[in-house]
Amino acid sequence: MSHEAAQGLPEGILAHHFSSLERQNEAMRLGMWLFLATEILLFAGLFTGYAVYRFQFPLAFAECSRHLEIALGTLNTIVLITSSFTVALAIHFARTDRRRAAVICLVLTIGFALAFLGIKAVEYTAHFHERSLPGKYYAFEGVKILGAAMFFTMYFLMTGLHGVHVVAGMSVLSWLLWRTLQGRYSSRYYTGLEMGGLYWHLVDLVWIFLYPLLYLI
């Protein structure tokens, strides 16, 4: 396409309705940030619910929080923060044209995401065994205060929705890995990868709020 060739760009990067790549990158960044805003508002509903019920059942929430596996929660936090670091590294390598390193970092990130899900699965299994389950399924012997079931409702809703986002993030990262392998991202154009990285940071950030709310306080 003459439009792209005129600006010395490879085929298939600059859409016809943008006058320049800078403009298009600006649009993509703005779009991504707006999308992240909607994601935060999606979680905001749950944070509101958590705040309301924490206020209503302070004892039950404190007590149930103590019954979560704090070690596993901490481990998961470390795993996710590290994965955020590796995805940032991947972008750094891509924009400095070190494709191999970028690929390795992306693979590592996906691996960390899998590890996160694995650890979460261990925790969930434990909850199923001791029947610390939400709402009507709650039959946990450890905490019998009114409101304990509500804690686990919030716990499962919040970690569940976050888990869905981890899976979504993994799919995005896998697709980006494929595009990186194809050699699409370079110092000239790496916005796609950057957007995927932003999304992954959001997934990480949400967990950083969930971790203290559910495990620590």
């Binding site: 006058s19 403009r23 509903g45 619910g49």
Partner: protein
């Protein structure tokens, strides 16, 4: 205003027209797989009109039942399902996508001098999400439908045995379509304005859509999570809103109205944008108080987020809350009033042509003033105690949603019909239908205001007999209204197929969307135009179709 030589020559008819977007590929697949904002807009338009008629049929069935105070025609549960589906279809499948997704998609890029929206593929995805959500909702309807009312209040919605789940899921998916459309528009306005189009030269319709998009982006996710929680509650008994498990049903109302009140402005702001455009075009006059109208759109979008509690004056929130939400709600009324005064001001010393869209403008002005002021009256806390959940509320929001929003939709449909399809519609029939609709609408809903005063609660299958006379009046009006819409459907369909070829700019309008040919070619412009002035500048006269070609 500078168009490229090729564009202006084509507009003046000196050069042969480039193939229009309608001619560029005529297979079904070329439509379904399009990236063209205009085609997506047209597909949205067809879909929302389809759902408008579905919702309308539900409404007529309801009105027929209400002719009799006792059981009549249908049973109570069917009645409850019908009003639920009427609400869900009209709000989520018609009103919310109506003007933004259909007309916004079509004219917004034209107005700001862009070749497309920022993310054309996302735009198409938004359309398919809408279709998917609609399909799930229809499937739910065929399974029997829900009987919760469109508000899905818990704990009723989490315990009723009807098919709430597919309806909730449909709403959730349609919500995402709405988010993506809003996101696309905001990015488009920020990054794709033509050279010279400063923020204070943006057409007012674009301002309206921009404010709407902000609401779509910031409010819809909260609706998403809320219906998701209700779905989980039904599906897995999580009990977050279930008082039997320590949950708080009023929390649901807070979360629901946090979206659904701003959603009212998703429905009305674009219509206000349409009126701002058309009132200038048909008065042939610059917009009076451009900045005031543009800023009040943003003002409504902003304040609209802090008024949701006025739906809950009698729901057991504190008196202080009620006062705070009440006073904040008043500001929406003030912003709307600013717009109304400026629209009327636009007509001052204009050159007014009474065409069909202008008839709808008149209807709109009356409906928005009366409907808006009854809204402010409802926010007057002590009056709301008597009116809450009665037909007064029903009449008020129909004045805004049908009165104002649908008038805006119809004004847009008639104003941009030549732009979109290059055909003319029969002006006489247009005026007949417009007067029928405005008359029928008043006959339908003014009795409902009185019913509300009289103490008739909404969502009543059977009612005490002293309400019957007003109900019969309302049904009679509803029939007129239905006929009006049917006439429009018929003459527009005929015009679409056999209608006369229209001129490129039949209204002589100086809105920026008329800078391209009608119907526009696939990529709108050969070269981007340069904007040097405000839209709707009628100080000079050029032959219709050419605007300040320099």
């Amino acid at each position: 205003m500078r168009l490229s030589e090729a564009d202006s020559a084509r507009l003046a008819g000196a050069l042969p027209q480039a193939p229009t977007y309608l001619q560029d590929g005529t297979t079904v697949l070329s439509w379904l797989n399009t990236r063209d904002h205009k085609r997506v807009g047209v597909m949205f338009l067809a879909s929302v009109i389809f759902f408008f008629f579905i919702g309308g049929i539900f409404a007529l069935a309801l009105r027929m039942k209400l002719l009799q105070p006792g059981p009549y025609l249908i049973d109570a549960v069917s009645y409850n399902r019908l009003f639920t589906l009427h609400g869900v279809v009209m709000i989520f499948l018609f009103l919310i996508p109506s003007i933004p997704s259909a007309f916004g998609n079509f004219v917004l890029p034209l107005m700001i001098g862009a070749r497309d929206v920022a993310f054309p593929r996302l735009n198409l995805a938004s359309f398919y999400l809408y279709l998917a959500g609609a399909a799930i909702t229809i499937w739910g309807m065929l399974q029997g439908g829900a009987d919760t009312g469109w508000t899905f209040y818990t704990p009723y919605s989490s315990t009723t045995p009807t098919q709430v789940l597919p309806i909730l899921l449909g709403v959730f998916v349609v919500g995402f379509s709405s988010i993506l459309t809003g996101l696309n528009f905001i990015v488009t306005v920020h990054t794709l304005r033509a050279p010279g189009m400063t923020w204070m030269r943006i057409p007012l319709f674009v301002w309206g859509i921009y404010a709407t998009s902000i609401i779509q982006i910031l409010a819809t996710p909260v609706l998403g999570i809320t219906v998701l929680i209700v779905a989980v509650e039904r599906f897995a008994g999580f009990g977050m809103f279930d008082p039997a498990r320590g949950g708080d049903p009023v929390l649901f109302q807070h979360m629901f109205w946090f979206y659904s009140h701003p959603a009212v402005y998703i429905m009305i702001l674009p219509a206000m944008g349409v009126i701002s455009e058309t009132v200038s075009a048909f008065s042939r006059k610059n917009t009076f108080g451009y900045k005031a109208i543009a800023m009040s759109s943003l003002g409504i979008a902003f304040v609209g987020f802090f008024t949701w509690g006025h739906h809950m004056f009698v729901a057991g929130q504190s008196t202080f809350n009620a006062g705070a939400f009440g006073i904040l709600s008043m500001f929406v009324g003030v912003f709307t009033a600013i717009k109304v005064f400026n629209w009327v001001g636009t007509m001052y010393r204009g050159a007014i042509a009474f065409k069909t869209p202008f008839a709808y403008i008149c209807g709109f002005l009356y409906f928005i003033v009366f409907g808006g002021m009854t809204g402010v009256a409802l926010a007057t806390t002590s009056l709301d105690i008597h009116w809450h959940d009665t037909y007064f509320v029903v009449a008020h929001f129909h004045f805004i949603m049908v009165g104002a929003s649908v008038m805006g939709f119809l004004a847009a449909l008639h104003y941009w019909f030549p732009k979109m399809f290059g055909k003319t519609y029969p002006e006489g029939w247009g005026l007949v239908a417009a007067s029928l609709i405005i008359l029928g609408f008043n006959a339908t809903f003014i009795p409902q205001f009185l019913l509300g005063n009289y103490g008739m609660p909404r969502r009543y299958y059977q009612y005490p007999e002293h309400f019957q006379a007003l109900h019969v009046a309302s049904t009679a009006g509803g029939t007129l209204l239905g006929f009006g819409f049917l006439i429009i459907l018929i003459y527009l369909t005929i015009a679409l197929i056999w209608g006369q070829r229209s001129e490129s700019n039949p209204w002589g309008s100086k809105g920026f969307e008329w800078l391209s040919a009608s119907p526009p070619p696939t990529h709108n412009f050969d070269e981007l135009p340069t904007i040097t002035q405000m839209p709707h500048d009628y100080r000079t006269h050029e032959p219709p179709g050419v605007l300040h070609v320099a």
